[in-house]
Each structure stands twice: as structure tokens, then as C-alpha cells.
């Protein structure tokens, strides 16, 4: 094991019963809505084949995509500077003069609150001799950025307001653009996105498929309670793929079988590479040997919803709906569930934002995961684990699987510092450590000559197929919009 995720699950890892009616077309499955539903809960209007006529080409793919150079140069030229990227959160830009740094590959950006309702973003580089302007992750109450080398200064919108000893510069130099080079930035529902293209695809078009669902979560009221960056010995695409399928749940996370349906969940695919899975929680996996008994995991969920387990009449099949009803009535986390569908109350809503972000969304909080390329080494990458929480009732905390430390402040009073760790010392939930192990062993394994250069995907892994198909549109200049920068 790369990490401390203990191999204690060997007996329950493989106590599976086979699923009676395995979905041969998982994308067709509809997770039945509850009484209270919404349009954004319905299946996407587009099947994957409609979005990519050649999607079948992505069932068998080359390992070159993931190991060795793994497309690093092409991605830097054609992907990262074209797409909308999640850079950070409004809660980190509360006041004018607050800023954070966002790095992707060799590019570094500063994102700053330049006025009350305005966010500005620009490359983190002084226009004199290219010195990196800020080295830290966050800043508060700045009114300008001053370069440490020659004290050149820029205001919060990136405009050059000082060239020290200006008279010693030739007119020729002074007539160059000496302002920080801006990038497009968009603040939306508590998230800050950037786009390095000159004329990017409009934000609303890019995320068109996901926005209605994302808008239902009050992420503008949330704040960061965990911020962990793990350097992983694997390409960012390998890391991302670990979280774009749930086929691995039964073997990698056997402890979830008593309370998660790991086969019958909804898949929805949207334009521009985005997708989602909707996972029912509070349901026993068909692979678990007893799907009727209210096991200890379900019992815990019932209690958490404010229901006395021994008074619950019925078997495991009714638990999820009972929890939905009870959470609405009892508000055990100190938040109301108006504005959410019944299923949102229990289920894990899991969109992927192309090219490199996933959310695990609950009304109480969101686990944000972001995968970023290493600046120089395509066989390394950064896995960002960020947990957003709402203000919950005293003593209540975000779901345990998100890995928020027991001692962390979840009130929002203190913003945790960003932790940077490597694979050997990553503090996190057992669940995330199990995934971390997979990233490491996938990367090592994919270099094997035994693969003869190819890996294969099931139809349960369509989200990865879509990702690679969309990526190719950029890499082969087939993406209609945006225009090159």
C-alpha cells in the first residue's frame, strides 16, 4: 500500500454476491425521483453517442495518454489555455484586497477582489523581467502588488502604477504593455472560475448542462473547512479517472456496500465534456449479502436524521425515503431542505467539470476535487481535496467520508491553511486514501509491457470515455469554440 489505508477489508472486499441484472446500458438507468423533484434532476437530453458519434473509439485506449510525456506539451498549448477552470472560492475573497494564487502546470495566476462586486485575475508575473510576483497562496487587505526585485507595482486590477526609476527606461520599453496580463474571470454562486483564452466560450454556454443543478446548492454561503494538496506520482488524467467511475466502489471501498448503491445510479452527459452521476445513499448494495437487514451503517444514518432506529418499522428498502422525510421534518443539521429535491437530501450528486474537477454535493457541504498537472513532470500531478461547508448546527460536521479532520474548525471563523503533503503522509479519510492507492498503482501498472500499450473501459466507465473524447477535440483542433488565444 502506498498509504496507511489498512488492508483490513479482505474478507468483506470479496464477500460479494453477483448483481442479478447487471446493467448492460448503464446510461439508460433512471434513479427514481422522490415526490419532491425538479427539472435538473431529470436525465440529460443528450446521450453520449449524440455528443460524440465516435465514442465507441474510446473503449480501448492507448496508455500513452497517461504515462511518459502523456500529452503534456499539447495540453499546455491547446487545452489549459482554452477552458474554464475552477480557480477558487468567493469565501476566500471576502474583502477588497483579498487574493489567492492559482497554478495550473507552469502557469500561475493571481485572483483578487479588486472592488466590492468585482474580481480580477491576471498572470502572476511582473512585466519587467518576468519575476514571479507573489509566492504565497493567499493574501488579505492588499492595495497593490509590489515585485520583490525592483519594486514595480501594480494595482488590484493589474494596472502598472509604478515603474521604479522610470526615467532610466527608454521610450521603446515604456511603450510596451507593462500592465499585468489579465485573464477572464467569473464569480458564480460562490465559485471563482478563470479562462486564459482571449475569446473564451461564454461561461453560461460552457457549463450549460450543469448550471441548473449547481445553482440548487447554496455554495455562495459555504466556506472552506479543509484544503489539502497531495502531490501524486501519476499523471493528472490518471488521478481524475479514478473519480470518474463508481465501478471501483465495491472492491476499493468495500465498507460502502452496506449503505451505497454502487451499481444502480444515474449517468447524465452534457455538452463540452461535463457529466454527472447521482448515487443513492442509504441503500444497501446488491452485492452485500443481506439487502433487507437494517445494518449498522443504515442505523447510523437513521439516527443522524433524528429517527429512533428501533422505532423504524420496515426493512432496509425503506430507509432512504425515511431519512429524506425525517431530515426535512427534523432539520438535524440545523439547515432546512426547501429548494432541494427529496433525493438530494440523501444522495451524493457527483458532477465532473471538464477538464479536471469533480464535486460530491450534499446540502450540508461539498467535497471539491481538482487535478492539476505538475509544471515540469507529466508523471506527477496535484490532487486538491477541498471541503466546503455551510454553517451547521452546533456539533454537526460535514459527512465523514470527506475527510475533514475531527479537530478542524467548521464554523467558518478560521480558514484552514493549505496543507501540502506527498503520498506517504497524506492525512485524509480512509475512503480517499483507498483512491490514492489506486492512483499510485495505476500509474506504475500502466507502464507495463504486458498491456501492449492498451487499456479497456466498461460502459460503467463512460465518464472517462467522454473525458478522453472531449480532450481529443481540443488536442486535435476540433473544438469549435473558443478561438485560439
Amino acid at each position: 500500500m502506498a498509504t496507511s489505508a489498512k488492508p483490513r477489508y479482505s474478507e468483506i472486499r470479496f464477500n460479494d454476491r453477483p448483481i442479478k441484472n447487471v446493467l448492460s446500458d448503464p446510461e439508460a438507468f433512471v434513479l427514481e425521483p422522490g415526490e419532491i423533484t425538479a427539472d435538473y434532476e431529470q436525465k440529460s437530453a443528450t446521450r453520449l453517442e449524440a455528443l460524440y458519434p465516435n465514442i465507441a473509439d474510446y473503449r480501448i485506449v492507448s496508455t500513452d495518454r497517461f504515462v511518459g510525456e502523456a500529452g503534456k506539451a499539447a495540453e499546455e498549448k491547446k487545452l489549459w489555455n482554452k477552458v474554464w477552470l475552477l480557480a477558487g472560492f468567493s469565501s476566500d475573497l471576502k474583502e477588497k484586497g483579498d487574493w489567492f494564487r492559482f497554478d495550473v502546470g507552469p502557469q500561475s495566476l493571481i485572483v483578487a477582489r479588486s472592488a466590492v462586486d468585482e474580481v480580477s485575475a491576471f498572470y502572476n508575473v511582473c512585466k519587467h523581467r518576468g519575476n514571479e510576483l507573489v509566492q504565497g497562496d493567499f493574501g488579505k487587505g492588499f492595495d497593490c502588488f509590489t515585485c520583490i526585485v525592483h519594486s514595480w507595482r501594480y494595482n488590484l486590477k493589474g494596472k502598472n502604477i509604478r515603474v521604479t526609476d522610470r526615467e532610466s527606461f527608454s521610450d521603446e520599453v515604456l511603450s510596451e504593455d507593462l500592465d499585468l496580463t489579465p485573464v477572464h474571470v467569473r464569480e458564480w454562486n460562490g465559485f471563482i472560475f478563470i479562462n486564459m483564452a482571449q475569446n473564451p466560450m461564454p461561461f453560461e454556454e460552457y457549463y450549460r448542462g450543469l448550471l441548473p443543478m449547481l445553482a440548487s446548492y447554496p455554495t455562495s454561503e459555504m466556506y472552506v473547512v479543509k484544503d489539502l494538496e497531495v502531490e501524486i506520482p501519476a499523471n493528472w488524467k490518471t488521478m481524475f479517472s479514478v473519480f470518474n467511475e463508481a465501478y471501483h466502489a465495491h472492491a476499493t471501498h468495500p465498507q460502502t456496500k452496506p449503505m451505497l448503491d454502487d451499481h444502480f445510479y444515474q449517468y447524465d452527459f452534457y455538452p463540452h465534456g461535463h457529466n454527472r452521476n447521482l448515487f443513492a445513499l442509504g441503500v444497501v448494495s446488491e452485492r452485500w449479502p443481506d439487502t433487507r437487514y437494517v445494518n449498522i451503517g443504515l442505523a447510523f444514518m437513521l439516527e443522524e436524521a433524528g429517527l429512533k432506529v428501533s422505532k423504524y418499522k420496515g426493512d432496509a428498502r425503506g430507509v432512504r425515503r425515511a431519512i429524506q422525510k425525517a431530515k426535512r421534518e427534523n432539520m438535524p443539521f440545523g439547515i432546512a431542505y426547501d429548494g432541494f429535491t427529496d433525493n438530494q437530501i440523501t444522495d451524493d450528486w457527483n458532477p465532473s467539470l471538464f477538464p479536471n474537477v469533480t464535486f460530491n454535493m450534499h446540502p450540508e457541504g461539498v467535497l471539491v476535487m481538482r487535478f492539476r498537472p505538475h509544471p515540469t513532470d507529466p508523471e506527477k500531478g496535484y490532487w486538491d481535496n477541498i471541503v466546503l461547508s455551510r454553517r451547521l448546527a452546533d456539533g454537526k460536521r460535514p459527512p465523514a467520508y470527506m475527510g475533514v479532520d475531527d479537530s478542524a474548525d467548521v464554523t467558518g471563523e478560521t480558514r484552514p491553511a493549505r496543507e501540502r503533503v506527498d503520498v506517504h503522509s497524506a492525512p485524509s479519510s480512509e475512503l480517499l486514501l483507498q483512491d490514492l492507492d489506486n492512483m499510485v498503482t495505476f500509474h506504475r501498472g500502466m507502464k507495463s509491457d504486458g498491456l501492449k500499450g492498451k487499456i479497456v473501459f466498461s460502459e460503467q466507465e463512460r465518464r472517462i470515455q467522454q473525458f478522453l473524447a472531449e480532450l481529443d477535440l481540443y488536442l486535435y483542433d476540433k473544438k469549435a469554440n473558443p478561438t485560439p488565444s
Binding site: 489498512k6 483490513r8 477489508y9 474478507e11 468483506i12 464477500n15 468495500p254 465498507q255 456496500k257 452496506p258 452485500w288 449479502p289 443481506d290 439487502t291 433487507r292 437487514y293 437494517v294 445494518n295 449498522i296 451503517g297 442505523a299 447510523f300 429512533k308 432506529v309 428501533s310 422505532k311 423504524y312 426493512d315
Partner: protein, 252 residues
């Protein structure tokens, strides 16, 4: 050894899972006719398919324990349909529904479930040539286990009831014995859920078991079959502890 169970009529509840399930399989393999009830009709169907080879008759009842009258009536009908009752195993429990800490549920299911069953089945058992009742208790009744729970106290009451019942029913030729298993783990069972979600607790308990492992249903099934069978015809009022040495006190 011939347990002489061939053709005997057994009634048992909670049949679809855990120890009860294994007990059903054990009796079925010995050629018994079985009347089994459970909330889980799918589970009963699966079990029924599995035991078909034993050759005996199997009658299934989908049943949820609610009104006491309805329970007594169900048992009476089941015994009639079975053509009699030689063996009754009281194995329904609040622990089958995460009710171990609930006093009302534990009393209702573990205690009254025994009392009402005895009342309903006594006339049938009386007519048997080798009548026997097995009450399923637990080591938690007589040794502290984690926390005081309703289940533990009620299971202790059940031992007293069972033992004293054996005295009063003996003249009618009905033997009454108790079986007290220690922690038992099986696929999909509560302990396996604990193994999944609270592994330190599971490991800690396993470390205390002298025979080195959690109990399994097939550690208990054969013992129940023996005690219930004519081979145990002179044993009544006893409490057979099946726990791999988990409980430490000396049993007199």
C-alpha cells in the same frame, strides 16, 4: 450418530437470516419438515430453494410480529398445516432489527415472543413423541458486553423463563433448553457491518476470543439440532454456551 430427526416437524422464525437460517438448513439436511416465518419473503424463497434437496416439506410464512393474537394464531395455523409440531426454536429478536437497546422491542420480541409461542404451540407439542423447545439467548445475558442493553437483560430473563418452563412442561414430555451463542459473524450480518464500519471494535473483540475467531452460524446450528433432537432426550433445563471460550466465568 443418528439424531432421529427424520420427519420431525420444526417451527422457527427469523428464518431468512443469520443463525436461524443456518438452523433451518441443518434441520432440513436431517430430513425435517419445516414451518418457517420471516419478514423477508424473498429471503424465505431463496432459503427454500437451497434446502429443497433435504426432502422434507417446507412451509413459508411472510410475517411481521405485531399483534400478539395474530402471532399466536399464525403459529397455531402453521403447526396445523405442518401436521403437528415436534420442535420449536424461539430465535426472533430485537437484535434482528437494530432494537437491542430498546426495552419495549426487546421485551415484545425476545420475551413475549417466547411466551406467546409456547402458549400457542403447547397443545401441538404435547401431542409429539419427542417434543422440544429451544430458546435462543446470548452470552450477553450473563457477561457484560460493551454496554448494558435491553437485549442483554431480557435475554437473561429468557434463560430463567426457559429453565423454569422446563420443569413445568416436563410432565407433558416437552423438553426446554437454552442455547447461548457468543458473537457470531456471517455474510451480511451485523458483525460484518461492524467489520466494515468500526474495524477496531471488531478486531478488539476477536482478540478476546480464545479459539481465535468469531463464531459462525455452522458452529451453532449442529448444537441446536442435537439439543432439539431425540438424541438429547434426557437433557432439559440446560443452557448450552457456544462462544469459543469468549466468556470467562465458570459455568456451573
Amino acid at each position: 450418530m443418528d439424531l432421529q430427526l427424520q420427519g420431525k416437524k420444526v417451527i422457527i422464525g427469523g428464518a431468512a437470516r443469520g443463525l436461524s437460517r443456518e438452523i433451518v438448513k441443518t434441520f432440513a439436511a436431517e430430513g425435517c419438515d419445516i414451518g418457517m416465518f420471516s419478514r423477508n419473503s424473498d429471503g424465505l424463497d431463496h432459503l427454500s430453494e437451497e434446502i429443497a434437496a433435504g426432502g422434507g416439506r417446507h412451509i413459508k410464512r411472510e410475517f411481521v410480529l405485531a399483534e400478539r393474537d395474530a402471532y399466536r394464531a399464525m403459529l397455531d395455523e402453521l403447526a396445523t398445516e405442518l401436521g403437528g409440531c415436534d420442535i420449536f426454536v424461539h430465535s426472533i429478536s430485537s437484535s434482528g432489527a437494530q432494537g437491542s437497546q430498546d426495552w419495549d422491542e426487546s421485551f415484545r420480541i425476545d420475551m413475549l415472543g417466547a411466551v406467546d409461542a409456547v402458549e400457542a404451540l403447547e397443545p401441538h407439542l404435547e401431542r409429539s413423541e419427542s417434543a422440544s423447545i429451544i430458546m435462543m439467548s446470548s452470552t450477553a445475558a450473563f457477561e457484560t458486553f460493551l454496554i448494558p442493553q435491553a437485549f442483554n437483560a431480557i435475554k437473561a430473563a429468557l434463560i430463567t423463563y426457559s429453565s423454569q418452563l422446563s420443569q413445568s412442561l416436563a410432565p407433558k414430555g416437552i423438553r426446554v433448553n437454552t442455547v447461548s451463542p457468543g458473537p457470531v459473524s456471517y455474510p451480511g450480518g451485523n458483525w460484518e457491518g461492524v467489520k466494515a464500519m468500526m474495524p477496531e471494535l471488531y478486531d478488539g473483540i476477536e482478540a478476546q476470543i480464545p479459539l481465535g475467531r468469531f463464531g459462525a452460524p455452522d458452529d451453532v446450528g449442529p448444537a441446536v439440532a442435537f439439543l432439539a433432537s431425540p438424541a438429547a432426550k434426557y437433557i432439559t433445563g440446560t443452557n448450552l454456551v457456544i462462544d469459543g471460550g469468549f466468556t470467562k466465568r465458570v459455568q456451573f
